[in-house]
Every structure is written in structure tokens, then in C-alpha cells.
């Protein structure tokens, strides 16, 4: 360790970087194991802090056994068959479906932002309204959404769109306006029309930043999705967590939370990978 350990100019080497970046994970896990062990020693029926063995058993049941309401389904078969008929797969599939629909509904939001940023009359028409909409707390609209769209899928997807779309629209507007005016003038002098400028010049330039913006909003998307699922759903990861909460099923809730984090991490990584492949010219400054 060099002098000036905590100073601005300190340069941690690879070993220190690895040690420090993993240390909080090790500390957290160690602390949990200690607390779980102590509580189980005092009370063998303890359910708030399940042991690792209990969580593995809980996750094994979730990943290889059907949900209670699906008990009539075939229980035998290969591991793959059992996994695809399991509670975990069923919930993951339901949540993923809603998540993908919500992502697809963000495409019009990006295009609206692009048009608002480029075409002054579209900007004038929508900006004030979107700014107002952006200030509405999406969760406070949940009852309205359930009344208007029913308690089916649409209300849950609309909750995500209402919660995240204004942010994405305004981000797209700002990114569009940040494209240097010289580029727009230049495109016109090269023979481009208005829509060529919008789709062949500006959209292509802002796309990697838009993908980053959506990536940074993934957690907000999941928050709204989970809120919808917890309140009105019959499947999905959040529905299961809410259901298990009633039975204090921490042995499954904790692995479920980690599973959601892992899925979100994979989506984030995939988006970064796709962004790099689609836009090799883009380097975040």
C-alpha cells in the first residue's frame, strides 16, 4: 500500500482492488452466518434468518417442484422437465413476460423524445405535459390504473410505462438537443431531409446513450413491476415473495431476492454487451 492511502491521488493496485471490492460481500455474508448460527442455537425453530442448508433446500424445492397450486402436474421426469414445471420457472417466466412488454413499450417513448427534441412544434405540444406527468408518483396512480385497465396484465405494464416512460422521454429530448447543431446543418447540406436527420443522424448518435439510460432505469422498471405483482397477480417473482412473506418463508424469499438480482445483473450485462457490439464507435466519456 502506497503512502496517502485515503488521498485523491492514491492508486490501489490490483490486489488491493480485488480485496477491497470483495471485502464488504465477505463481511456481509460472514455477519449473516454468525447471526443465523447464534439465533438457531438459541431457538432451533427460528425462521427469520434461515441457515444456508435451509435456503438451499428451499431453493431446491422452488426450482424443481411445481407450485402448490400446480401440484396436480407431473412430478417425475428429468431435472430439466422438473425445472420447466417448477414454481421458480413459472414465476420467472411471468415476470419476464411483463418486463419484455414494458421494454417494448419504451420504444415509442424514445421516438417521442427524439421528435420532441428535433421538431419544435412536437416539443411545444408535449414538453409541458410530459414534465407534469413526470412529477406524478406512479404508485399513487396504481388504483386508477387497476380501475381503468382492470387487474390483469395491462394495468401492471401500464404502471411501468407511466413510471419510467416520462424519464426516458425527457432523457431522449435532452440527448437529442445535445447533438451539435453543426451536425444537423451539415446533414442538410449533404442532402438529408428532416426524417433522414432524425433517424439516420440523430437517433443513431443518441442510441447508445438511450440504451444506457434504459439500463440505469432497469431497477425502477423492476420496482414498478414488483409493486404491481405484489398487489394484484397470481404469478410472478414478486407475487411469490409476497405470498411467502405471509408464511415467514425466508428460506425461499432470500434466494428469490438473490435470483432477481442475478437476473437483473444478466439483463444489465447483456444490454452493455449489445450496446458495445451495436455501437463500436461509442465510448462513454
Amino acid at each position: 500500500m502506497s503512502a496517502g492511502f485515503l488521498l485523491i491521488h492514491a492508486k490501489p493496485n490490483r490486489t488491493w482492488t480485488a480485496v477491497l471490492s470483495w471485502s464488504l460481500f465477505v463481511l456481509g455474508i460472514g455477519l449473516y452466518l454468525y447471526v443465523a448460527h447464534s439465533r438457531h442455537r438459541d431457538n432451533p425453530e427460528e425462521r427469520v434468518t434461515p441457515t444456508v442448508a435451509q435456503m438451499v433446500r428451499g431453493m431446491y424445492d422452488a426450482a424443481l417442484k411445481p407450485a402448490e397450486d400446480d401440484e396436480q402436474q407431473v412430478q417425475g421426469g428429468s431435472v430439466a422437465q422438473r425445472f420447466f414445471g417448477s414454481m421458480l420457472w413459472k414465476d420467472t417466466k411471468a415476470t419476464s413476460r411483463r418486463f419484455i412488454y414494458s421494454m417494448l413499450l419504451l420504444i415509442p417513448a424514445v421516438l417521442l423524445g427524439l421528435h420532441m427534441g428535433l421538431f419544435p412544434y412536437v416539443g411545444v405540444l408535449f414538453t409541458r405535459f410530459i414534465l407534469f406527468f413526470d412529477k406524478i408518483v406512479a404508485l399513487s396512480m396504481l388504483p386508477i390504473l387497476f380501475i381503468v385497465f382492470g387487474i390483469d396484465e395491462l394495468a401492471k405494464i401500464m404502471l411501468i410505462v407511466v413510471g419510467v416512460a416520462p424519464t426516458i422521454i425527457l432523457d431522449a429530448v435532452n440527448l437529442t438537443r445535445a447533438v451539435p447543431g453543426e451536425q444537423v446543418v451539415k446533414a442538410f447540406t449533404l442532402g438529408a431531409g428532416d426524417f433522414d436527420v432524425a433517424y439516420r443522424v440523430v437517433l443513431k448518435q443518441i442510441m447508445p446513450r438511450i440504451l444506457n439510460s434504459i439500463r440505469l432505469n432497469l431497477k425502477a422498471v423492476m420496482c414498478f413491476l414488483f409493486a404491481g405483482e405484489m398487489i394484484a397477480s397470481t404469478d410472478g417473482l414478486a407475487y411469490r415473495i409476497a405470498l411467502l412473506r405471509r408464511h415467514m418463508g425466508m428460506d425461499v424469499i432470500i434466494p428469490y431476492v438473490l435470483w432477481v438480482a442475478l437476473l437483473l445483473f444478466l439483463v444489465d450485462w447483456s444490454m452493455r454487451f449489445v450496446n458495445r457490439k451495436l455501437h463500436p464507435w461509442f465510448r462513454e466519456s
Partner: protein, 270 residues
């Protein structure tokens, strides 16, 4: 006889509220094939004059005509090379150069037709020829703009603008961010390209030597007072080529005109 290509009649430009004049009663006529350099101090409205000609700025009084017609927005009759952001960062050098012909010949949907790919191959051959003329290698064509030096980027920007064969090329301090060596090379290149294409060039600069080395004509913009907009205070025909011994004398003349803030009639020198 050379044809009159650009006519500016009593054009005034003002910004803000209350309006603050930037250009005041500009009168200018430019003939086809001329290389006109616009000189003036910072903030005197050189770039505004260029934007007037581009059509991205409009006069509050007066008229700007290109080939006898008013143009209300930029189009492909006028090529443009700004000081910065001259290339599209998401496109390779070759794609930047062929962008003009591609975008004007093929709509978004037209790109899906087989004819597009055939034409694209032809354009690439033409673009490679331009690359060679501006002194870049074929391998540079596959690079993205941020992988090129500032000088190389401006060379590509020139090729990009000339690929659409504009009648007028407007350059806004296009070389001012370059180091002296690269700048000299670029000056040679633009002279060669101007001579070979016959394009009318309007070149905005604040460098007097550069203006004399490049232009066949130099106009100087200056303000009479801070409350007034700039006017053309000197319109100088430069002998082509300009003899070395004449340069110091011309530099003094241009610089004194540029610094002159008194009301002065337009001086026309030949």
C-alpha cells in the same frame, strides 16, 4: 464572364430582445469560382454571415440570394465544413464521405432495395478516390472519426462536403483548431481542391496570413461601435498568386481595417 452566384443586399441580422444588431446593412456580391476569405475580430459576425448563406440564419432586413433565389434552409447547393463536429461520430470515414450521395439518392426504405447496394459500391470507389486525393490511406476509411487526428478529420470533412459537388463551399474557421504544420498542409489541400473543382469557397478565418494565402478576395467585417452591427469595411482583391513581398503590406492594411471601429466607407481595393 464569371456569373454572379451570391448576392447579399442590405442584410441586417439582430439577436435578442431588444434586438442587438450583429450584422448591419451587408452588401456583397460573389462571383462563381471565387475564393473569398472573411476576416474580422472575434464576435464581429463572421460566422453569422456564413449562417446567412447557409440558410440557418435569416436577415431581419434585406435579402440573401444564391443564384438569384432565396434559400430558407440549408441544402446540398452549399457544402459546409465547421470548425468542430464536422463528422458523424457513428459512421466510419468511408460512410461519412458517402453519406451525402446515399442520403439524397435513397430514402430510408430505398436502402432495402438491391439497387442501393450496387450504387453504394460505386460510391465507395469514388470515396476511395477522394481519400487518396486528401492523402489518407484505404485503411483509414474503416476508422471512426475519433480514431483520426484533428487534421485528418478536417480532410475527411472536406472530402465529405465535396462528394456532393456543391456549388458553394462554406468553411467556418475550419483550420483554426489545427497545429501550424497541419494547418499549412490543409491550406495547400484546399487550394488544390478549389482549383480542380471550381467550387466557390467562402472561408471564415481570423488569421490574416491564412486569408491572404488562400483567398482571391478578402473581405473584412468590423463594427462601427458596440451598439452597431458589423459592416464590410474592406473588400480586397488579392493578386493570385500573392507575391511574398506584398504580404506584409496587405497584412497591415487588413489588420488596420479589422481593428478600425470608426464609421468608414467600404474600401474596395484591386
Amino acid at each position: 464572364m464569371a456569373m454572379r452566384l451570391i448576392e447579399i443586399d442590405h442584410a441586417c441580422v439582430a439577436y435578442g430582445a431588444p434586438p442587438r444588431p450583429v450584422l448591419d446593412r451587408i452588401d456583397l456580391e460573389i462571383e462563381e469560382g471565387e475564393f473569398v476569405c472573411v476576416l474580422g475580430q472575434t464576435g464581429c459576425g463572421k460566422s453569422t454571415l456564413l449562417r446567412l448563406l447557409l440558410g440557418s440564419e435569416h436577415p431581419v432586413h434585406g435579402q440573401v440570394r444564391i443564384d438569384g433565389q432565396e434559400h430558407h434552409q440549408p441544402d446540398r447547393t452549399r457544402g459546409y465544413v465547421p470548425q468542430k463536429y464536422s463528422l458523424f461520430p457513428d459512421k466510419t470515414v468511408l460512410d461519412n464521405i458517402t453519406f451525402g450521395p446515399e442520403v439524397s439518392e435513397f430514402s430510408l426504405w430505398g436502402r432495402l432495395t438491391p439497387g442501393f447496394y450496387r450504387r453504394r459500391r460505386e460510391l465507395r470507389v469514388e470515396a476511395l478516390e477522394y481519400l487518396r486525393r486528401i492523402g489518407l490511406r484505404e485503411a483509414d476509411g474503416r476508422k471512426y472519426p475519433d480514431q483520426l487526428s484533428g487534421g485528418m478529420q478536417q480532410r475527411v470533412a472536406l472530402a465529405q462536403a465535396l462528394m456532393t459537388k456543391p456549388r458553394i463551399l462554406l468553411m467556418d474557421e475550419a483550420f483554426s483548431a489545427l497545429d501550424p504544420g497541419t494547418r499549412k498542409e490543409m491550406q495547400k489541400l484546399i487550394r488544390v481542391l478549389w482549383q480542380s473543382t471550381g467550387t466557390t469557397v467562402l472561408f471564415v478565418t481570423h488569421n490574416t496570413h491564412e486569408a491572404l494565402r488562400l483567398g482571391t478576395r478578402v473581405i473584412v467585417l468590423a463594427k462601427e461601435s458596440p451598439e452597431h452591427g458589423s459592416r464590410v469595411v474592406l473588400d480586397l482583391r488579392v493578386p493570385d498568386p500573392c507575391r511574398e513581398e506584398e504580404i506584409p503590406h496587405l497584412v497591415r492594411r487588413l489588420e488596420s481595417a479589422s481593428e478600425n471601429t470608426e464609421a468608414a466607407p467600404v474600401a474596395t481595393a484591386r
